[in-house]
């Protein structure tokens, strides 16, 4: 450490002496690279989908609140998001580069939220040394302001009940209730985030604002609605499995898997294959759309912020219902009552069935992205390419959302009601955002 400092100081000195100050340009690509890196780290650190949605949202809000100060197109979310106050105002005399401040604030809050800080630190260091080399004074002033805003946002953030929910009781498995969710193969993990409904929403008035109708009453009578839906999952799965891995339905199921922790066991050997979460997939789509229309930095921050907020409250709304209905997964019932060696095409994720989380957040994200980029916005979705999956093309965000929802039935992890009710629940969340939250002036 000591040696590094000795080494760096003369270097900085040289740079500051010889290089004339240049303007620092912070681009939308800088923003994408930070968001991408945070997404990667979340995969490494294994954050569950609801927690991941929170990690996306707060840094974006911090960045957005800074650019809203200078870009007259945008207005602050203070007073609009629950309990968010105005951030400190930037001193216009100090030569602050607000885009730079926005990215600094974003990185700073992201680091707070992830586990493996050093992995983001690498990117942070390279950006900072680049900027510092170009214009030390501007960099320092902008960084100081970004950190001040980050502190402000953190004060708001820590009051969202997240840390309290960490130590709340685990989900209780009750083996006497046949309809109640129980851990699923192969890892039999505990129910994830049973208290997520207690997290302060960003714009919902409460977690239960869009409480969906209950699922069909649990019944194993052959003519009951519930049993028919159970059999439908089983039948669809068998049919498309017979059609092979290249069938459209299997392709759709795998494309939208978005399971951050798929447990693989081979004897005593275990490992996890990890992917991005549903929220991260839609953040990826936001990047694709922003790039397609060459969004500038401010517009990019706006798009990320809006999408991530809709997704975050989508999860809160969905998880509220999941741990209200506590419904058992199709895999458990099919194994018990129909076929003891049946496996779903996707691995069943570790939380109750109703409603489908991917359906809810896809519904919500589809609504706000359509508002940002317009309807019938065609795009090539290459988000999953790094995970060995192909590119899929969509004619609109809502079409993609519909496909994401139905993919959960194809995957054998959800009944129809969870998918259909779920996407409506998500669209209600998205529409509420559009109604109540004004981000654009005019």
């Amino acid at each position: 450490m000591k040696y590094t400092i000795y080494y760096i100081i003369p270097l900085l000195f040289l740079l500051s002496c010889n290089a004339p100050d240049q303007p620092i340009e912070v681009t939308s690509e800088n923003m994408h690279s930070v968001v991408d890196r945070v997404t990667q780290i979340m995969i490494h650190d294994i954050f569950s989908p609801p927690v991941a949605s929170r990690i996306f949202a707060y840094p974006n809000v911090a960045a957005y609140e800074i650019i809203a100060q200078k870009n007259s197109k945008y207005q602050s979310l203070a007073g609009q998001l629950n309990q968010l106050d105005l951030i400190p105002v930037a001193d216009t005399l100090k030569g602050i580069n607000l885009e730079l401040s926005a990215l600094v604030a974003h990185i700073h809050i992201s680091k707070q939220l992830i586990f493996s800080e050093e992995k983001l630190g690498v990117l942070e260091d390279s950006l900072y040394s680049d900027w510092e080399g170009k214009n030390k004074k501007e960099f320092n002033a902008s960084k100081d302001y970004g950190l001040a805003v980050a502190e402000h946002i953190k004060k708001w953030m820590v009051k969202d009940n997240y840390s309290q929910t960490r130590t709340m009781p685990k989900f209780s498995v009750n083996t006497d209730d046949d309809s109640r969710w129980q851990p699923t193969p192969p890892a039999y993990m505990d129910g994830i985030e049973p208290h997520w409904s207690k997290i302060r929403p960003f714009f919902l008035d409460s977690a239960s604002q869009f409480k969906p109708a209950p699922p069909p009453p649990f019944s194993l009578e052959k003519d009951s609605d519930f049993y028919k839906e159970l059999m439908e999952v089983y039948t669809i799965s068998n049919t498309i499995t017979a059609n092979g891995d290249n069938s459209e339905e299997v392709q759709i199921a795998k494309f939208w898997d978005c399971n951050p922790y798929v447990s693989v066991t081979r004897g005593h050997l275990m490992f996890a294959t990890k992917k991005i979460t549903p929220g991260a997939h839609w953040i990826g789509i936001t990047k694709i759309a922003s790039r397609k229309i060459n969004s500038n930095f401010d517009d990019t921050v706006y798009a990320y912020t809006k999408t991530s907020l809709a997704i975050a409250d989508g999860f809160i709304s969905c998880w509220d219902e999941k741990y209200r209905s506590n419904l058992i997964r199709p895999e458990t019932l099919i194994n018990l009552h129909i076929n003891d060696s049946w496996q779903p095409i996707l691995q069943t994720p570790p939380f109750p069935e109703y409603t489908s989380g991917h359906s809810v957040v896809s519904g919500a994200a589809g609504i706000v992205l359509t508002d940002i980029f317009g309807d019938n916005f065609a795009f090539e979705d290459d988000t999953e390419v790094p995970y060995g999956l192909p590119i899929r093309s969509f004619a609109s965000f809502n079409q993609a959302a519909n496909e994401a929802a139905i993919s959960r039935m194809y995957g054998g992890i959800h009944y129809r009601a969870a998918v259909e009710v779920g996407i409506d629940q998500g669209r209600n969340v998205g529409n509420l955002f559009l109604q109540n939250i004004k981000m654009k002036t005019n």
């Binding site: 995969i43 490494h44 294994i46 586990f115 493996s116 800080e117 840390s163 309290q164 960490r166 130590t167 009781p169 685990k170 989900f171 209780s172 498995v173 009750n174 083996t175 006497d176 129980q182 851990p183 193969p185 192969p186 890892a187 039999y188 505990d190 693989v264 066991t265 081979r266 004897g267 005593h268 050997l269 275990m270 490992f271 996890a272 294959t273 990890k274 194994n335 003891d340 060696s341 496996q343 995970y387 060995g388």
Partner: protein, 1083 residues
Amino acid sequence: MKNRALVFLMGIVLFSCADDKGSVFKKHSSSTTNVGFSNDLTTTDNLSILDYLYFYNGGGVAIGDINNDSLPDLFFTGNQVKNKLYLNKGNFTFEDISAKAGIEGNSTWNTGAVMADVNGDGLLDIYVCAVVGLNGFNGHNELYINKGNGSFQESASAYGLDFDSYSSSAAFFDFDLDGDLDMYLLNHAVHTPKSFGAANLRNQRSYETGDKLLRNDDGKFIDVSESAGIYGGINGYSLGIAVSDFNLDGYPDIYIGNDFHEDDYYYLNNGDGTFRESLKDYFGHTTRFSMGSDVADINHDGLPDLISLDMLPDDEMVLKASEGDDNIQNQKLRVKNYGYHYQFTRNMLYLNQPDGTFMETALQSGIAATDWSWSALFGDYDQDGEQDIFISNGIPKRPNDLDFINYASNDNIKIKLNNTNLIDSEAMRLMPSGSVNNRIFQGQNNLKFKDQSKNWIPNDTLVSGATAYADLDNDGDLDLVTNNINTTPLILENLTNNTANYIKLKLFYKNPNRYGVGAKVYSFANGTMQFKELFPVRGFQSSSEPLIHFGYGQSKTIDSLKIVWPDMTSQTLKNVSCNQTLYIKYQNTAPFEYKLLHKKIKPVFAKVKSNLGIDFMHKEDAYTDFNRQKLIPYQISDRGPATSVGDINGDGKQDLFFGGSKYIPSQIYIQADTTFVATKIASIQQDSIKEDVVSVLGDFTKNGSNDLIIGAGGGDFFNEMAPLTNSYYQQLKSNYSAVSFPEQFVNTSVILSFDYDNDDDLDLFIGNQSFTGDFGKLPNSYILKNTNGAFSIDSDNTFDTVGMITEAISEDFDTDGDLDLIMVGEWMAPKFFENNNGKFTLLNLPSISKLNGLWQSIIAFDIDLDGDMDFLLGNWGENSKFNASNAKPLKMYYGDFDKNGATETIVASNKNGTYYPIDGLGELSSQLVYLRKKFNTYTSFAGKSIDEILGKERLGLATILNVNTLQSGYLENNNGSFAFVPFKFELQTAPLMDFLVFDFDKDGKEEVLVGGNYFGVKPFHGRYDSFPGALIKSEKDIKLGNILGLDFMSKSVRHMNIVKLNNVAYLLVTMNNEKAQVYELLN
């Protein structure tokens, strides 16, 4: 410089000596032995640990004299390499005769090796198991018939033994006692990602994976598995087999160790060609990832005891970085919904009991954690008369490393793993090596084993699997040979030689079982019995030299040797000199009465069939403490039910009150003429919400009828919730009505009625155990003074933060005429309060003040028969992952470590001088989330002390509670001063929950009955289920319940009471989550 080099060189020489030689065993290298065999594994794109789950299980080893030159020869199987046979040329040199002998084998993947005289011609043949039909493996199990000229003929198909299935091992023994050797074949299942189906999958036979029992019908082996009652399902991962006459009826029984979720199988031989699988009847719990096993009588009671191996590491660096036990909810699910038995990840040592049950003591015996263990071999390696244990160890790569599980698939590796089945070098690199030392433990005549791994055997970093013993140099002591992965076999010469005495027996039984497989030998010397059975297949994938070996320390003669042959005849040799090899021919035999082996059981108690009409079944509610208070050391919600015996309906006869758990009403049984009858008293039973933990019947109002006081607990209701308050029901003319009672909001544990102020009414002591949600905070306890039937707190006698009380008794220990008070509890020492005119004062008793324990029970009893009162104390016992001593107490750190306004407890115990938390990172961070940021990987957490984990600042916030002893015992009263005397081993196997004094055997003198066991701990700790109860007549006369007719094993006793029906006394035993038991007193 020169000198330094010299010193350096000498150092190397010293080290290399030390590497080859321990104090008992010396390693012979392949360069001198000529044993160049090496089980080299070749990983290919299509074959690795990813493709075949047992890629690292290793080959087999079999030792026996194949050419009748009295020197045992060595046979090794290679998984992928050719088998090898080495002739013993003496002096630890061997000659490779593999090619000539024709035993190199034709299967792709060989596993277990057995030597047995299969065709009954007096020559040892060789059976080689193979895995066939998986991963392109071909071939079949091979039987090499010994032609007597140094060559062998593969003849498996002629004998019906050419199985092409997933075999791991086989054992030859005569299960139907028709004189010839039959065979049990172990096959293993192949894992699917679908972890467990219902346990009854084992009923559907599968050729490839199911075990088989083959009956030898005149040289043809017939598959009788199904009719004999042998499971052969797709979920049996059979790796271990132990054959022994466990129940001593003359017929060999079988214990099969199954890996993964499948239960082990305990097959008792019916003697009619069939078996009954009886695991759940006789074993409270078993190993989870069962591997090898072995049998020997380790405590000289003539009953074969059993060890089964698992893979629990003891090194903190490995332990905390490895996947551990199930979580508690999954365990419940698996047991309740899927029908499996309790299984835990650690070695198990099962002590065979006279009633056929097994007492499991591996933790207490010191052999629970030996890492990735394959083979266990009992043997008296130092010849001191006690059985020692050699355990082979190691795995090339640890596939259950938590960082590997979670992070291996980070970058691009996961795609490869997932899409191509190829585990590349990068992924392999991320899996840490599991090459660890083999282990050896010295038996010590007290059921505790001393780890001599660093002393007796040379250090090694081998991956050793199959192991066999033999007397390779015919010097009388037991040498050891292991088959290792990727290196030559470990050949260990035993150096005991003439420093201790031995006898070695070779048996000559009737053909076709000429080696006497199944024979028993009893040795009597110096008043000690030793007992061995001849079943050469033992350990793991191996068979040892067919011999019987006993050590005698410095004794030179043996009073007698009794050989019991498989045909249930015996012969006896008297006054035998040590230090010789005896060749014992079957001759001059007399019939042997197996009945004589079962005379120990002399019941004092017998279950009453009708249960006297008391069909009370306590049902514990489903609440799991660890879901809410994730880090507490044990539950507090399962301490009920309350039990009281007394007249409830005013007819002068004893009735019964049983408390209910949360949301379950209490039950009342009224005594009728010949039985008890369940009765409703609405005013009492309408309160179903509270959990009734303790109760007292007494005439507190002095109106001639009993009143009822119930103490509430349950560990679920919290803060100032009404169901935490105690209840007081006064009786007036058979009507009970609730009246006010001093309010408190803690989990009550004791209500003791006694007249402390000598005003001739019954006052109360209320003892409290804990606060829900704030475990570790010390509650107050109280004296409630009775004033005309109303109770009020006696503010002159408060017991502020006296401790986590579990039991209290009133006793005039200073014999001044008033009742004094003694309290016991958890994380505290027993406390003696002297009563002086109604004022209690804590006595300062130096001998007791440091006796912090997890005390559960106390009673006054003159155990040393000297006329004064001693005090018997029930503690947690030593059969636990907790450990405690005065020098190294068990510590519980209590504080708000995550600063969220709620407290946590972290329990840490001392290992090699450092305190480590008992919980791992996963569990700790489920409560203390910030630890996930502090420790990014499991490796960074592993091996860290509690100080390093919590940090100075947070440690400073902690209150530390200590336990100095976990032993149960008694306070011996020596003229008013007390000395603590621990009970014997068998009474330390579980928490002792209750004592009862009565003259049970009607000999005119009182005894103490002890009940115990407790299950409220996480699967990492297991289940304290092994205590069978005990009857204490005196310090020297303690008998276990399993010879007295008690059915306490695997049940958790709460209360024991004497109940009189028509003036006949019965024993009533109340248990948690179990039906109440009623015993009549025999004699």
